[in-house]
Amino acid sequence: MARVTLQNVAKSFGGDRGPWAVQDFSLDIADGELVVFVGPSGCGKSTTLRMLAGLDDVTSGKILIDGRDVTALPPKDRNIAMVFQNYALYPQKTVFENMAFGLRVRRTPQHEIDRRVRSAASSLGLEALLERKPRQLSGGQMQRVALGRALVRDPDVFLLDEPLSNLDAKLRVRTREEIATLHARLGATMIFVTHDQVEAMTLGDRIVIMRDGFIQQAGSPLDLYDRPANAFVATFIGSPEMNLIDGGLMRDGGALVMRSGGLSVNLPAQSFSGAERDVTLGIRPEHIERAETSTAFELVVGLVEQIGAQTYVLGKIDGNKIRAVFARDDALRAGDRIFVNLSQEKLHLFSRESGKTLRRTSTKGENGNGRELHGQAQLRRAELQG
């Protein structure tokens, strides 16, 4: 178990001139923490993990494991274990030998190998499969063997590179739960890479969202959900994704109003004070509430999706496409006109120019312009202290 620190890590596949896969990546991962790197494909999350593993060189910056600089060390000297997306089991070796290989290479005594492999196998329910070859296993079993191979090594850090992507939906959920249980039991430092925000939300103690090689935001799952640093994070986290409406911000007397075409949304009077005029309003589908009165917004229902507990609606408010999630409503039909309220406290406002969140002014005057730019370094420091 160990603390992992990345200091201004950058990776370019074309020397100093780029293109840069990862830039200015700084993160401190506490001992025993499960951190999830998440982002769309090509965002640099896997590259960062591979640099941590030592499979890819670091172009600049430093990687420390438990204070030890491992930046230039080969994978075998870092005491890390990795689980690959395609399992990467040795096809000619039995399950037992697959798990034992790392120990054999390190000249672990046979009785110790036996003990560790059998204990890992029993905790993963693999005892009956120890003599099988990988091709005789199902995808879920192969993934457990890959986990077991990491377990027996008793590494400082577990690196998991999209380990659930090749499993079917049900198995993915089950294996996800197993990993969470495993993490709770071992208390080991784990870094988990995925492109799936649900996996990130459910697994992570902390989530690092990346795009185009940069960290967009790092924080606890609910922190990212409640206080996204920018429109990208806001839409990436949460499903169905947040509605975004471009518009103009103006003061109408004392009130603050966002206008977009025929739509005008009143914002809490003291909120979002700032000079920004071109803004994007964000509201999560689950924060759109049914209303009785006609003073509310009128939503023209376009498409109704019943998923059982809830009803998803895709419709339009004054020409703006809106997704909404309501409690189950069997009667809702396409073409219906219903009234909704946008939950005032749950509104997000982003600068249209930079995409960054325009913060609410919780206490008046604390922030000069009421706008809190979420510099990554700033945020990180805050989190480390927290």
Partner: protein, 290 residues
């Protein structure tokens, strides 16, 4: 099921063609081995197992068998070791990779006759290329063809020269099919270069190597052209193998029955070796190591 007649038609066609060009001569040769005849025109006379008794009691037969096995095994070992090594080098990323890969297969395009004539021209004890080189340093020329070992070595080297590219090509294809993540997993597990080769590369090449060794084995055991062109079985039958012996008997000594008997024995031995080989090393992935 509508296309059944087409499949059956193609199958029967294939059987007919194979039967005519392979099965026919094979059966005719087996039949001939029970007769004695001096040519294909004379009416053959039945001698039963006489040819076999005669052939098997000749020391030359056993000598030829030993020569053939020696040459085949040496050539295969060298071809496979060299082939795998070259393929590993060519599998790495380097500037001009495509060109070098293409060049590496050129010897395979050479007609055997050309390769053998070039070898003879280089090695000829009286006016060869090597002789001139040696002479310019004041040394005499070694008569490669006059010594059992060097004559065999020459045959082996020419075979290696011509057919190693075949091994390289097959192994190179095999290397591409090994997932890169296996090497990464091995590196994380702590395996160095040698351990990666032993635990990832070699197992990954298993199927390819089984087929390559099988094919090279069959071809080397039946090799006729290189031996005949280079040594004609000499010196003093030291490079005589079963194929050249069969040819010598049938067409130079006008003993068709004897030649046919040698060919039939050779065929049976090869067939049984292949059967055992395939039992031990099944090509079918699923049966491997179960």
């Amino acid at each position: 099921m509508r296309q059944d007649w087409r499949i059956i038609g193609l199958f029967i066609g294939g059987v007919l063609v194979l039967g005519t060009i392979v099965g026919g001569p094979l059966l005719y040769s087996i039949k001939l081995s029970f007769y004695t005849a001096a040519s294909f025109i004379d009416p053959p006379q039945w001698v039963g197992l006489g040819n076999y008794v005669k052939v098997l009691s000749e020391p030359l037969f056993w000598g030829s068998l030993l020569n053939g096995v020696t040459i085949a095994i040496s050539a295969i070992v060298l071809q496979v070791v060299l082939g795998v090594t070259i393929a590993l080098v060519l599998n790495r990323q380097f500037v001009g990779q495509t060109v070098v890969r293409a060049l590496s297969i050129v010897p395979y395009f050479l007609p055997t006759v050309v390769a053998c004539l070039i070898t003879q021209w280089i090695l000829d004890p009286n006016y060869g290329l090597l002789k001139s080189v040696f002479a310019s340093f004041g040394y005499g020329m070694f008569d490669w063809g006059g010594n059992s070992t060097s004559a065999k070595a020459t045959i082996v080297l020419v075979s290696v020269w011509i057919w190693t590219p075949f091994v390289v090509t097959c192994v190179l294809a095999g290397l591409q099919s090994i997932p890169g993540q296996l090497y990464e997993a091995a590196r994380v597990d702590g395996a160095g270069v040698m351990k990666q080769f032993w635990h990832v590369t070699l197992p990954g090449l298993r199927s390819v190597l089984i087929v390559v060794i099988l094919l090279r084995g069959i071809w080397m055991f039946n090799k006729f052209d290189v031996i005949w062109l280079l040594t004609k079985g000499g010196p003093l039958n030291e490079t005589e193998t079963l194929p050249t012996l069969a040819y010598r008997k049938a067409f130079l000594e006008f003993d068709l029955g004897g030649g046919a008997a040698v060919a039939t024995i050779s065929f049976l031995m090869l067939a049984s070796i292949i059967l055992i080989y395939l039992r031990v090393f099944p090509i079918d992935e699923a049966k491997q190591g179960r």
